[in-house]
Symmetry: C2
DNA sequence: TTAGAGTTTTATCAAACAGTCAAGATTTCG
DNA sequence: CGAAATCTTGACTGTTTGATAAAACTCTAA
């Protein structure tokens, strides 16, 4: 009891982190992201995380005393990053380009941070037992705020009048799909186009979908001319 | 060794299933769906499934000898149901109404079979280790076939020309989102509208999105009149 | 350079876990 | 009915898992 033992004790003392501490926590969180994003909280094991991080299990538990602590550290840093694109949605900007670039930013996140996307999806599938409160206190107000922005654009006739919250859902789901269901996407698209090509195709498609939908504007929609296949 | 023991042995004999067998297998699969859809394969435990099914663990293992067997039985019955709406997409029908009703059917499945949706999502998040082959042999050909149908409609000018596979992705993702991310949806929409109301709102929104997109058709899109918020 | 803080390891534990076994209880059907 | 087939259970096995204790080692700053 010489004042040594466990990091938690120093939490109140706002003590600086050691070089080794910073390195190892980073290694652990990265390994944990790999495991939790694939197997969920229960399915992931400390052993595998430790192995992936290249350290012994007790050593890992020196930095995070419980499995839950690792998971929570991961979630905490996640939500902030995750909502950034929505925060940037600017009421002042031009509505359509503004939405376009929001969609693109979300798609870029799915491409660049697929593990984070899967971790989030996993937590949702479980009913968000560990971040429901955070969703209430952080996500909801932000969405409410941006929904008002969208409503303003609709009232000004700058975008079609639709339910703004469902609009946000559809942007989230279509973009995150490329991270969360990546295997399926790859199976269906085949190996022809690489990851970059797939990304560009998706971006182009989503732009058309969200701007123009599927109904052709040119010909009378009810009596299009017949053409052989 | 009196010819008793374990169901697996009789697999080749095409023997009929007992009343009790049918009942219990149903109970087990239902309980397993509950567990696997939330916690994934590794996260779910036989103990919990047995408890949920209201029987002892050894009894459960009398019907399914290994955890994997339950999971595979579940997956096998899932994929068939899951792809039915897409199979019904009819090349002969009117393109826009045909797509509309496909979207609606998918949305209904998300509403009526959320656990199945989550099970599927969970398997995808893990990289589909247990059904990747099935996706190749069953899902891909079906999607290829329907992509051709969509291409035909596009060439005939009946729907806008977009990447047909990405179009299918967007229908899957937007509809399944309401099952897989249900917590989030509820947090954001609040308790005002019940499940039925949410469903109708979603259906209405998706119809607008997929048919018309967000760009207003009336005013010149580049120079909309100014109106105060 | 050395005391003490910080880090890592070995050994260990109890609980949870997947799966087995044989005996006992129940159902089915001639 | 009664015997064979089917079903259920308790007791158990070996392993994995989350977590702890304490000893041994390493780094760092005065």
């Amino acid at each position: 009891m010489k004042g040594t033992q466990q990091l938690k004790a120093r939490a109140t003392e706002t003590q600086r982190k050691t070089r080794i501490q910073i390195e190892n926590e980073e290694k652990i969180l990265d390994a944990a992201l790999e495991e939790f994003s694939v197997h969920g909280f229960r399915g992931a094991t400390i052993d595998r995380i430790a192995a992936h991080a290249g350290m012994s299990k007790p050593n890992l538990l020196y930095y995070f005393r419980r499995k839950q602590d690792i998971y929570e550290a991961l979630i905490a840093r996640l939500l902030d990053t995750w909502l950034e694109p929505l925060r940037e949605l600017d009421a002042i900007g031009d509505p359509l380009p503004e939405l376009q670039s929001y969609i693109r930013r979300k798609l870029e996140m799915a491409r660049d941070f697929p593990r984070e996307s899967r971790l989030f999806a996993n937590e949702m599938l479980q009913g968000a037992p560990r971040i429901k409160r955070l969703l209430q206190s952080e996500l909801k107000p932000l969405v409410d705020e941006k929904a008002e922005v969208l409503k303003g654009w609709m009232k000004a006739g700058k975008i079609n009048a639709v339910d703004p919250r469902h609009l946000i859902f559809s942007i989230w789901s279509t973009t995150q799909h490329y991270a969360d269901f990546d295997v399926q996407v790859q199976v269906i698209l085949g190996p022809d186009r690489g990851a970059d090509g797939r990304f560009e195709d998706a971006a182009r498609y989503l732009e058309t979908l969200f701007l123009d939908g599927l109904r052709p504007k040119t010909s009378g929609a009810d009596t299009p001319r017949i053409r052989t296949l």
